[in-house]
């Protein structure tokens, strides 16, 4: 067997011989990773819901239900003529339904295609940045939009039925999103540091239990790298196993949670499956890196000792 193969085997052997401590480390590390994964999943969902509401930040104007398509398109010019409106975008009925279908799922919209589509024609209205910052001015624009009617040759051909603005909600959610992102960042950082010390401690205990072998290794001329490798492998494997277990737990938990609350939420949650592979990859990489760093932290100080010092004599 090559030296490297031997060292890998030794790493796994350490893990097994020290199994109670290894299991304890994996347990704590899994808890940290599950919390981290939950924080990531929460952030993704808050960000997505903010994006969804932010889409509504572009003020929505709904036209009268009975307005035909030709008139609905024509009223666009009148909407654009309102002060501070910079852009108008016509939304077809099907397009509107599709938007809600993405948020609420397919089931509700099964029998609503074609003439059964209950959505009116609508517009996305963009106002200038100055108006967006000024509540009074914005409210004035909304009032003006509500008054818009399509009049041709003295005949009223329909108009704006309602104006929907989620501006304040969007602002609040944006603040919430920033808060969640910032909190998640600090939680993840704190958990990473905790994980690092847990692994370092486990490896330190393994090293302590192997101090006799280490003293012999050094006396026969083993390099520090040779002494280190099994411990680094042990740390990396602890990290990797923890990553796999925690992704599995997150997968199950998220499915249970989505199943329980999907009907009461006004928007569709991003499933953990959608981000699972990114999380799994990041966890595996982070687990391995934390494992390696934790091992190096414990080994370096230990390897500076010589002879009987290693044995504590």
């Amino acid at each position: 067997m090559s030296s490297f193969g031997y060292l890998i085997k030794e790493g796994f052997k350490n893990l097994f011989n020290n199994r109670m401590m290894s299991l304890a480390s994996i347990g704590v590390l899994v808890s940290c990773l599950v919390l981290t994964g939950s924080a990531v999943w929460l952030t993704v969902n808050v960000t997505n819901s903010v994006d969804s509401v932010s889409d509504s930040n572009v003020t929505k104007v709904f036209l009268d239900d009975d307005m035909d398509r030709l008139h609905a398109v024509a009223i666009g010019q009148d909407l654009l003529a309102v002060d501070h409106v910079t852009e108008v975008q016509f939304i077809e009925k099907d397009e509107a339904m599709e938007g809600y279908r993405e948020q609420l799922g397919d089931e509700i919209f099964q029998n609503m295609t074609g003439k059964g589509n209950p959505f009116p024609y609508s517009y996305s209205i963009t106002v200038d940045a100055e108006t967006m910052q000024n509540v009074d001015q914005y409210d004035k624009v909304v009032e003006e939009l509500k008054q818009v009617k399509l009049v041709r040759n003295g005949e009223e051909l329909g108009g704006v039925a309602s104006v929907n603005s989620h501006r304040e909600l969007a602002q609040k959610l944006t603040t919430l999103s920033s808060l969640v992102t910032m909190m998640s960042f600090w939680i993840i950082l704190a958990l990473a540091v905790i994980s690092l010390f847990i692994i370092a401690n486990t490896i330190r205990m393994t090293m302590f239990s192997h101090r006799f072998e280490i003293s012999i290794m050094k006396s026969v001329g083993a390099t520090n790298t040779f002494v280190r490798i099994p411990f680094i492998i042990e740390g990396a494997v602890i990290g990797l196993i923890s990553a796999i277990v925690s992704v599995g737990i997150l997968y199950i938990l998220s499915n249970v949670l989505i199943g329980a609350i999907k009907d009461i939420l006004p928007f569709k949650l991003t499933s953990f499956t959608d981000i699972m592979w990114y999380v799994a990859g990041s966890f595996a990489a982070a687990g391995i890196v934390v494992g390696i760093l934790g091992s190096l932290m414990s080994i370096s100080r230990f390897l500076k000792r010589e002879g009987n010092e290693i044995l504590g004599w």
Partner: protein
């Protein structure tokens, strides 16, 4: 092979003068006994050779390596030129005799096929072929010390350093251990034995260096040497 020039060692922790201006030379292929009372400086002398400690002053050359200039990362390569035998054997109890000896080869990156050839040869050399699958706790003190010697020899070092190798074995076995070291020396390996057993030393008629209070007080290689 080993050269000490005006070497002194003072431990900063307690200020003890372990070695005081020691100058000596041990040539390749020699068999040397280092004798002296407990605390005389014998262990420090060995630690300096193995580069476990650095001298406070003076210079040391071992196997053509200048130890004061030897970078830390090269120390393992210095140690590969020497085999160490400890008084307490330092065998790994969960490993068999074969595994204990093979472990020393693994540590320096030797291939499995080389290990398979070399270990049985060395075990035969120290007379332990039939004990290859035994664990250290199944062996007598003398046998354990021979395993320790086999481990020291397996990487084919140019020098064997034995620190009180007979300290934990009965007198008859002590004689056999030194006899075995003498045989190894005849094959060209330099042997350095630290001991306080004067009778044993006398019976082999080898070079004797006597250290007392950190100084070389007698060296049988000197012309004016008076036997202890």
């Amino acid at each position: 092979m080993i050269e000490f020039k005006n070497v002194s060692k003072v431990y900063s922790s307690n200020g003890a003068h372990a070695l005081d201006n020691v100058t000596l030379s041990i040539a390749k292929g020699e068999f040397v006994f280092i004798v002296g009372a407990s605390g005389a400086g014998k262990s420090t002398f060995l630690k300096l050779i193995m580069r476990e400690e650095q001298p406070t002053s003076g210079s040391i050359t071992v196997n053509d390596m200048f130890l004061e200039r030897l970078p830390r990362r090269k120390v393992p390569y210095l140690r590969r030129t020497m085999g160490i035998v400890f008084q307490d054997f330092r065998l790994i109890s969960k490993m068999t005799v074969y595994e204990n000896v093979a472990f020393a080869m693994r540590c320096v990156g030797k291939k499995g096929s080389t290990i398979k050839k070399r270990v049985p040869y060395i075990l035969d050399l120290v007379g332990l072929s039939d004990k290859a699958n035994d664990h250290p706790n199944e062996l007598s003190g003398g046998e354990q010390q021979r395993v320790s010697l086999a481990r020291a020899l397996v990487n084919n070092p140019s020098m064997i350093i034995a620190d009180e190798p007979t300290g934990n074995v009965d007198p008859e076995m002590s004689y056999e251990i030194i006899e075995l070291l003498s045989e190894i020396n005849k094959r060209g390996t330099t042997v350095l034995v630290v001991t306080h057993e004067h009778d044993l030393v006398k019976s082999f008629g080898k070079r004797v260096i006597n250290i007392e209070s950190g100084r070389v007080v007698a060296d049988s290689a000197d012309e004016e040497y008076i036997a202890i």
